[in-house]
Amino acid sequence: MKYIIKRILQMIPSVLLVLLITFSLSRIVPGDPARMMAGEQAPEEAVERIREEMGLNKPIPEQFVVYVSEVARGDLGTAWHTGRPVAEDFAMRFPASFELALCALLLAVLIGVPVGIYAAAKKDSAVDHISRVITLLGTSVPVFWLGFMLIYLLYAKFEMIPAPFGRISDEIFPPTHITGLYLLDSILTGDIVAFKSAISHIFLPALCLCFGSLAIISRMTRSNMIEVLNLDYIRTARSKGIKESKVIGKHGFRNILVPVLTVIGAQLGGLIGNAVVVETIFNWPGIGSYITQSILQTDYAPVQAFTVISVLIYMFINLILDILYTVVDPRITY
């Protein structure tokens, strides 16, 4: 417990540093948000008045102090391109992004880990080779290309999925709001119609988003498992006549959990980044597509807030992982 509190306190300077970096970056990048806001054809004096209104003509250090104190109070600023507070925009879009990331992670783990284990157990078998090819593709195919290809094939060519916009078809009601996650809410309310529509909408983006992570997770699982299976205690277990499935599934598996958890944690960071691309391609109403628009419109506030929140999420995941290590491996203590 003491350890957790210590870790949380350690986060504060890191967050301040991140605030400073994102703030400076957005100010160093050329381009005048007041000009973008006023419109390209607005006269210079109008731009000047808007600059004043937004506080952009104050000294930069003063702008930073104002910014930090606002963030501390939970005020992430106002996104001028939607006219709403950033915190409100985020809250509204968060469930969509969370559901997508969760589905992608589940797919990556539930497919990646078993495939990795199987490939390790049956080294150099057909499954191993196929998984290696898929892995190679997963790490080398850019996610935007994959997205467009999947849309073209599954939507345009074979008509297997509905039009790639939104989380649910227009003629279907979103499930009654409980958690904001459509799949979960529709199960909770027994709403089969909404569930079917939601799953047909989330399937492609989740597949696309998980592809890269899936490849790395299965690869890491495989290599760790192969290493573990060569250790003495596994030979001992085998010589004792324990069934091979149990040797791998129990003796082997427990010992690869720490490195595999680390990989999964690291992949979550990649998921946040790729979500921006995937959401834009699939018109997913989450935070990623919102950030793309903000960047295109030179809207500082949401981009800064997104960076800070991503860092917080990442730190939080690392903390959870560190705690999980002690659970999966009792030898680890802090």
Partner: protein
């Protein structure tokens, strides 16, 4: 351990299925009659199905936009997409009549001013006073009548706006006078030949002061960013700039309900996705389709791919402050070297028109003549360069803004063409904001520039782009004759007189080779053949109230 887990999982499933007996938004989804009831049930959560509330057989229009606009505030919206929503929710005093263009499509006639909230008007002989009578039937969405006070309130709001106050100034309005509840007189400080052309713009939408009572100007602006207070044909149920917008036709619209019942606007940033959606028939209208993608859609018999003349032009800015480019012969040589045909045919797949003189064909004052027009002639270009003393060659940089593939492709063709006359071109690609800063501070040699006139008037266009003190005169072009003509034309009260002055000015600009005009863009709209009465406005903004399905 394992048993415990199984038990937990089982109880969770049980809990879920029990909860399932509660509210189920789609419980009656198969029965049409159940839809409306379910809609009101879920409405409390702020999540209604976009089309769900509609009755079976409703006319729903689905439109794919590239972006969702920035604001619903009429006095702050300076982009065409925001204007779409504002035009749906508000009325202006006047509007344009219709005419048919060469392709047989219905288009707005900018010389035919028609009544809207204003029933009739009288303009004084000297063009200094405009007396406007409002329609007594006109009502805001709240039921309040549209009065002279509302008009004055709305115009005052534009006047004080940081964003669009310049349009109020442009209309030369000195004072506004309320004669009675339905009559206003505008007193001008000098004649304005485009007074009604300005008044039909979405900027001059009439706001309902009753809905905004007690708010300061800032509060009104903040409120109107996401809410509306107008008298228009649609109520905006939802507007999320990055995902979608939902508009419902108002049953009690004072001009009579629109033919459509509902409009769903989907924000699809990827052009290739918009093309796919249109091709599959999942949207009725798709906007901003790249010309090269029209080839894929041309075979689809359910679609109508229309290109309209627009006021968007693309040209090569030449910085007259650059030593070499300050020489008129060098500028003329560059004009003679431009690969006009390959730009139009290869970059824009033929869906554009070569811009002969600077004023595009959709703008009044357009000059339709071969005289003074540059066509590619490399021999002549080389000779001119030699005369200017650059026989041994010349090196220039060329700025392109990122995010527009057409401009990037054009830059490469320009680079190639100029290399043939001995001009070495270095292409510099910049982010949009960076590019804007470089061009407006005249810190470049050449740039691929685009301009779309916010006000469809040659005076506005010349004043911004070619008048020596113009805000968008990136190349610092200065001609005393053009300046004198602009000043004379802006003081004139006669439209035809102004237009002929601007035609004269265009010939001077052509002789000076101020820039190299490349092409005028076509505004491409892809729509379902079942739609009728789609009327095109030169501002590119759709008026949903006029569309029938």
């Amino acid at each position: 351990m394992k048993r415990k887990l199984t038990a937990m999982a089982l109880s969770a499933v049980l809990a879920l299925s029990l909860a399932g007996c509660g509210a189920n938004a789609n419980a009656n989804a198969n029965a049409n009659s159940g839809n409306a009831a379910a809609g009101s049930e879920t409405a409390g959560n702020g999540e209604t199905s976009a089309a769900g509330e509609a009755e079976a057989g409703d006319k729903i229009l689905t439109v794919a936009f590239a972006e969702g606009g920035r604001t619903l505030n009429p006095s702050q919206a300076t982009d065409a997409t925001s204007a779409v929503f504002i035009n749906a929710a508000y009325d202006q005093l006047v509007t344009y009549g219709s005419t048919t263009n060469a392709e047989g499509y219905e288009v707005a006639d900018t010389s035919d001013i028609q009544p809207s909230l204003a029933k009739s008007w009288k303009v004084s002989e000297d063009g200094m006073t405009y007396t406007i009578h409002l329609d007594e039937n006109a009502k805001f969405a709240t039921g309040d009548p549209v009065t002279a006070d509302a008009v004055i309130f709305s115009f005052e709001h534009v006047k004080n706006s940081n964003y669009t106050g310049f349009l109020y100034t442009l209309a030369n309005i000195d004072t506004m006078e309320k004669v009675d509840d339905l009559t206003i007189i505008f007193h001008l400080n000098k004649p304005c030949t485009i007074f009604f052309n300005l008044l039909q713009m979405h900027i001059f939408s009439i706001l309902n002061p009753a809905e905004l009572e007690g708010m300061t100007d800032e509060e009104i602006d903040a409120y109107l960013t996401t809410a509306t207070a107008g008298s228009g044909a649609f109520e905006i149920e939802k507007w999320e700039a990055t995902t979608e917008a939902v508009l419902n036709a108002r049953e009690d619209y004072w001009k009579g309900k629109a033919d459509l019942d509902k409009v769903l606007v989907k924000i699809i940033p990827e052009a290739s996705n918009r093309v796919l959606l249109a091709d599959k028939g999942d949207v009725d209208i798709a906007m901003v389709i790249p010309p090269k993608d029209l080839v894929t859609l041309a075979d689809n018999e359910d679609l109508d791919c229309r290109s309209y003349e627009s006021v968007s032009i693309t040209y090569l800015s030449l910085n007259n402050e650059n030593e070499a480019l300050s020489n008129v012969k060098v500028r003329q040589a560059i004009n003679y070297a431009m690969p006009y045909d390959s730009i139009v045919n290869d970059v824009l797949s033929g869906h554009a028109k070569k811009l002969d003189h600077v004023i595009p064909s959709a703008m009044p004052g357009h000059l339709d003549t071969d005289e003074g027009v540059y066509t590619q002639d490399l021999e002549k270009a080389r000779a001119l360069l030699e005369e200017a003393g650059y026989a041994s060659g010349l090196e220039l940089n060329l700025l392109v803004s990122s995010g527009n593939q057409d401009n990037a492709d054009t830059a490469i063709l320009v680079q190639d063409a100029l290399s043939k006359i001995g001009v070495t071109v270095n292409i510099e690609k910049m982010e949009r904001p960076q590019y804007l800063e470089a061009t407006s501070s005249h810190n470049f040699d050449m740039a691929i520039s685009a301009y779309s006139s916010f006000v469809n008037d040659p005076g506005y266009f010349f004043g911004n782009c070619l008048y020596s003190k113009g805000e968008y005169n990136y190349g610092s072009y200065k001609s005393d004759r053009v300046d004198a003509i602009w000043e004379e034309a802006e003081a004139s009260n006669d439209l035809e007189d102004r237009y002929s002055l601007y035609q004269e000015a265009q010939m001077i600009v052509a002789g000076d080779a101020a820039w190299a005009p490349l092409y005028e863009k076509a505004n491409i709209v892809v729509m379902d053949k079942n739609l009728s009465r789609y009327k095109y406005y030169p501002d590119g903004s759709i008026r949903f109230a006029e569309i029938s399905k």
